[in-house]
């Protein structure tokens, strides 16, 4: 997930969506009970992340961290809704407790990764 989000920082939305589809499909191979849900979630997150990055966000490590947090949480939300495996209080616990914790951890690791390897993922400015 983190690799996908870091990739979407510099990639076009279409390619981000394709990368998300591939990564999601591979992830679904490990959890056949929700096959396809992960592919859909990563596709959406990859596309929206790249599109939003291009439209709204400046190059800032903290802003990227928030992007990682939101992307991870949105992925979990889509997977849970698409798979339909959880419901009621269990779904609430997952979305309001465990997913934010996971998202925060991912965001922290992502910030550290960007701080260490930021120059390799910096957005290339288009020539005027």
């Amino acid at each position: 997930m983190l690799a996908l989000l870091i990739y979407t920082v510099r990639a076009q939305p279409g390619r981000s969506a394709a990368a998300g589809f591939v990564i999601g499909l591979l992830r679904d191979a490990l959890t056949p009970a929700s096959f396809g849900a992960g592919a859909l979630a990563h596709t959406l997150v990859g596309y929206l992340s790249s599109w939003a990055k291009a439209v709204f966000f400046a190059e800032n490590v903290l802003v990227n961290g928030c992007l990682f947090f939101a992307g991870t949480w949105l992925r979990n939300l889509i997977v849970l809704l698409a798979s339909g495996r959880l419901g009621g209080a269990q779904l609430g616990w997952e979305l309001l407790v465990w997913s934010p914790i996971q998202s925060a951890t991912t965001a922290a690791v992502g910030i550290i990764a960007l701080w260490m390897f930021g120059r390799w993922v910096r957005v290339r400015r288009a020539d005027a």
Partner: protein, 284 residues
Amino acid sequence: MPLGADRYASRADTLLFLGCVGLSVAAMSLPDTWRDPIAQGLRQTVLAPFLALQQQTGLLAAARAHYDAVVAQRDSAALAATFLPELRNENVRLRSLLGLGTRLGWGYVPAEVLHQPEPTNPLTFIVSAGRQKGIRPLSAVVSAEGLVGIVASVDAQTSVVLTWAHPEFRASAIASDGSVSGIVAPHGAAGPGVWLLELQGVPYRQQVPEGTLIVTSGLGGVYPRGIPIGTVVGLAGEAKGWERTYLIRPAIHPSALSHVMVLTGGRGSGSDIRGAFQPESVQP
């Protein structure tokens, strides 16, 4: 051109996105008979190296935990092994005591020595048998190696034993070959001499060679005849022309005891029980 303008979604990007969404929905709609082989194929091809890596990581973690458990077991075994010599010694002593009981046949009470953390513990100690088991004052206390001492006082369930190291200990003794006789007493009241005995009153003309086994003589009616007391290790002193005193190394040290036998009544002073003490149990 605005920053990142080249990453706005073009028509190709939108079509690619929609295609991926469609494929994802199709994957979700696949029946199990199609879904499982596809997932299995991905696991056995693209994901195989990652799964192998995860498996190795899991094995490494399990090996680490197992290693820690093995090290803990080894440390526990090493600690237990430090007590092994003492356990073996106690086992040997207990077996010897069992053999002594068999050879004595009757007229004895086994008892456990209740060592106390006192400086005077080697001089007197308490045993776990008393009046209820038939023990009386002035009963002889022996181990498989030989004479330990005498019962000084008796309670209902315990007794106080005066060992040969006590300054008041005396025993009528004789050489195992019957050549000389005398009185055995502690060699000294303090210092290293308290752990040796001496045979007093040996006529000057009689010499006792080193290594001679000294046993109780049975005279006086306290100790039966034949209980090993110790072995002669040298001359302690002499009164010119009158008598000699010989040093005796005791057969057993009181601090080495965990169990003893208390000889109860019924054995006359003329009885000889030297046959109950095997030669190998008495160290020269």
